[in-house]
């Protein structure tokens, strides 16, 4: 295969693709060499990483080639590797996996070291619960990730790549296996790619259910077949990474941006987004929102526009309370700050992070103390146990939060929460511990009143913390005895056809009476 043959496939397959898409004209917009999806929700979006999702058939390499796929690689191979690095650096592409480190600088550092072997690793461990953009790219457009990896390999001088993908994504694994086979068969992976002297192979490794393995050094330990515990950061992974060799690790979405940047140029990319955060970001807009789904927008769009203009606002006429970004490492942004722009700097300024792009909308029925507890449970579960602050500190944080949600907390707990959180952030070994108190700190900061209510008044305004609820029967009661029949602890008394009473000292706050009352005679406080 050479660039001429690749061009032939492209020209021929383009018409095939158009023919197929034209069968459903209401779905696609076919312009001059570009195809996009039709629909109200796509109008405000700009799709780069997701450009092919829902358009091409991911199991046909020909359709990827038809949209210009593998041409970035073919052209790069005609030039020096450093040209690739220069373009990525100029474009200011920052890592989409969480930390936002400039990809070009990482590649440059790895290219600098001379060794017999280097590695390219694709981080497809997508651990943030509530984010699924990487799954969508792997399933819907696997070749863009392969092409991005091959380009990275060429740029830094590596001949071997690994994709570390979550075992929870069986479809993504299947789609990658097919894609790798097809790329090899077309001489786009393997030896002498497109007739050049560049060799590059990709191997799949499956995760085994450990969130911390998304951290780059833990991920490398895991590929090496060990317990996935983060390393002490003596060396950068670009100097000593996988098996002690220079390694570039990039996130799926980062890699999906590589081919379009090389095709359209650094300048084109830099003009999208904000000055410090170029390009677009994919968000998984989920939770209490009318139209949940993946959205890709230019960096710098406001949270309000994403939630209301693209996501259609909050269902059931409820009011938004907050959006959570960055998963267990991020924070809750309250609705009065919804004009915050989504880019790396702005999100950090309001106490959250970009993270991998999870954006969970919460409404008045969500309790912020409970949400902090939810994330802490996650971090306690997933802490690898190597360093003390994270292993033990998070557990203590969780215990305080549990006390608060059970109505056993005190106002002094709130200071303890804050102090302990700061210590854990400052002293943990890896990003997990350094960021695990963020959900606590941000909710404490913006929703202090809710914490105070839990601690002082033993009250949960959202009605989530069951132990804090009080049930009382009002005079609408018709004495049907249905509540008596459903009460698991027999704490309701009263004769038939007479008003009933709940013995608050025995009540376990299960809510069964409330749910089963036919005449709404039970009040919850």
């Amino acid at each position: 295969m050479n660039i001429k043959e690749l061009t032939q496939i492209r020209e021929q397959q383009w018409w095939e693709l158009i023919k197929r898409l034209n069968e459903e004209p209401f779905k696609y917009h076919i312009g001059d060499g570009e195809i996009s999806l039709k629909g109200e929700e796509f109008k405000l979006q700009q799709r780069i990483a997701l450009r092919n999702i829902g358009i091409i058939n991911p199991n046909k390499i020909e359709e990827y080639i038809a949209t210009g796929g593998y041409f970035a690689l073919a052209r790069a191979l005609e030039n020096e590797p450093k040209e690739v690095i220069k373009t990525i650096k100029d474009a200011n592409l920052r890592g989409r996996g969480g930390a936002g480190f400039p990809a070009g600088r990482k590649w440059e550092a790895a290219a600098y070291h001379e060794t017999d072997e280097k590695y390219v690793v694709c981080n497809a461990d997508e651990g943030d619960p509530g984010a699924y953009m990487d799954r969508s790219i792997l399933e819907g457009d696997p070749h863009t990730v392969l092409e991005g990896m091959a380009l990275c390999g060429y740029a830094i001088g590596a001949s071997k790549g690994y994709i570390y993908v979550r075992a929870e994504y069986p479809k993504a694994v299947a789609s990658l296996i097919t894609a790798i086979e097809q790329a090899k068969a077309h001489n786009l992976l393997g030896n002498h790619i497109l007739g050049s002297d560049f060799h590059f192979d990709i191997e799949l490794r499956l995760g085994a259910g450990a969130f911390v393995c998304g951290e780059s050094t833990a991920l490398m330990e895991s590929i090496e077949g060990k317990r996935g515990m983060p390393r002490n950061k003596e060396f950068r992974t670009t100097e000593r990474g996988l098996w002690g060799k220079p390694t570039v690790i990039n996130n799926v979405e980062t890699l999906a941006n590589i081919p379009p940047i090389l095709t359209k140029g650094a300048q084109w990319f830099k003009e999208i987004g904000t000055e410090k955060s170029s390009g677009t970001k994919v968000f998984a807009l989920v939770g209490k929102v009318q139209k949940p789904g993946l959205v890709e927008v230019p960096m710098g769009m406001s949270i309000y526009d994403i939630v209301y203009l693209i996501g259609g606002g909050i269902p059931k006429g409820k009011k938004a309370k907050a959006v959570q970004t960055g998963g267990p490492s991020g924070g809750c942004i309250p609705s009065h700050l919804f004009d915050t722009k989504v880019d790396f700097e702005s999100l950090e300024a309001v106490g959250s992070i970009m993270g991998s792009g999870g954006m969970v909308v919460m409404d008045e029925n969500d309790c912020m103390v409970d949400i902090a507890k939810f994330f802490l449970e996650f971090s306690v579960d997933e802490s690898c146990g190597k360093c003390t602050p994270c292993r033990i500190g998070n557990k203590r944080l969780l215990e305080i939060l549990q006390r608060l949600t059970l109505g056993e907390g005190e106002i002094s707990d709130l200071t303890k929460l804050e102090n302990l959180s700061r210590v854990i952030c400052q002293t943990s070994l890896c990003g997990l511990g350094q960021s695990s108190p963020n959900p606590v700190l941000s909710t404490l900061n913006y929703f202090y009143d809710e914490y105070k209510e839990h601690a002082q008044d033993k009250h949960c305004r959202s009605g989530v913390c069951k132990a804090l609820l009080r049930y009382e029967i009002n005079d609408r009661c018709v004495g049907c005895t249905r509540c008596v029949q459903h009460c698991p602890v027999d704490c309701i008394s009263g004769s038939i056809r007479e008003r009933h009473y709940i013995d608050a000292t025995e009540c376990i706050h299960c809510g069964e009476c409330f749910k089963n009352c036919p005449v709404n005679a039970i009040d919850v406080f």
């Binding site: 997508e126 651990g127 943030d128 619960p129 509530g130 984010a131 699924y132 799954r135 969508s136 075992a167 929870e168 994504y169 069986p170 490794r205 499956l206 995760g207 085994a208 259910g209 450990a210 969130f211 895991s222 590929i223 090496e224 077949g225 060990k226 317990r227 996935g228 515990m229 098996w243 998984a284 807009l285 989920v286 939770g287 209490k288 949940p292 789904g293 993946l294 959570q324 998963g327 999870g358 969970v360 919460m362 969500d366 949400i371 939810f374 994330f375 996650f378 690898c384």
Partner: protein, 160 residues
């Protein structure tokens, strides 16, 4: 304790040994080998861990250390139907905790346990990537989206 019956599982064990032989040269082979064992036998029997140790020359303590680190591996057999409730953020804010409680209540087992007849077990996952269709429950490989607490009894009654 569950005793692993080598005779009954002879065919699977042979295939498993072949898998180890084929991939012997792979760097960092232990994890893929453990994953193969988990898939083949449904859990990691002690006897199989010993087999891996002698076959690949890795101390059992090392193997055990790796296997206990990852939540994918189980040391007891799971039920015929492994019910996995997604407890990721999107599912959680859409009521996953109530669903988990309901399964627990109806089956009278806790999270991580298997019913005495080995028919059902309940586990939790952290996001299966279908967050826009939350809440999500997976039973073996069957995925149920927009799951409701009131679906629990119905779904269980459909499983033979």
């Amino acid at each position: 304790m569950f005793i692993f019956d080598f005779e009954e599982n002879k065919e699977k064990v042979d295939q498993f040994i072949q898998f180890m032989d084929k991939n012997r040269q792979m760097k960092g082979v232990l994890l893929p080998v453990l994953q193969e064992a988990q898939n083949k036998f449904g859990y990691l029997p002690k006897e199989i861990l010993q087999l891996i140790s002698s076959h690949l020359g890795i101390p059992t303590s090392t193997i055990y250390g790796v296997a206990t680190f990852y939540s994918q591996f189980s040391f007891v057999p799971r039920g015929k139907y492994s019910i996995s409730v997604c407890m990721g953020t999107a599912c959680y804010v859409n009521g996953a905790a109530d669903i988990l409680d309901e399964f627990s209540k109806v089956l009278s087992i806790n999270l991580g346990e298997t019913t005495a007849d080995r028919k059902f077990s309940i586990i939790e996952t952290r996001c299966v990537g279908l967050c826009s269709d939350a809440p999500v429950v997976t039973i073996n490989n069957q995925v149920y989206t927009h799951f409701k607490k009131s679906d629990v009894k119905h779904i269980l009654s459909l499983l033979p």
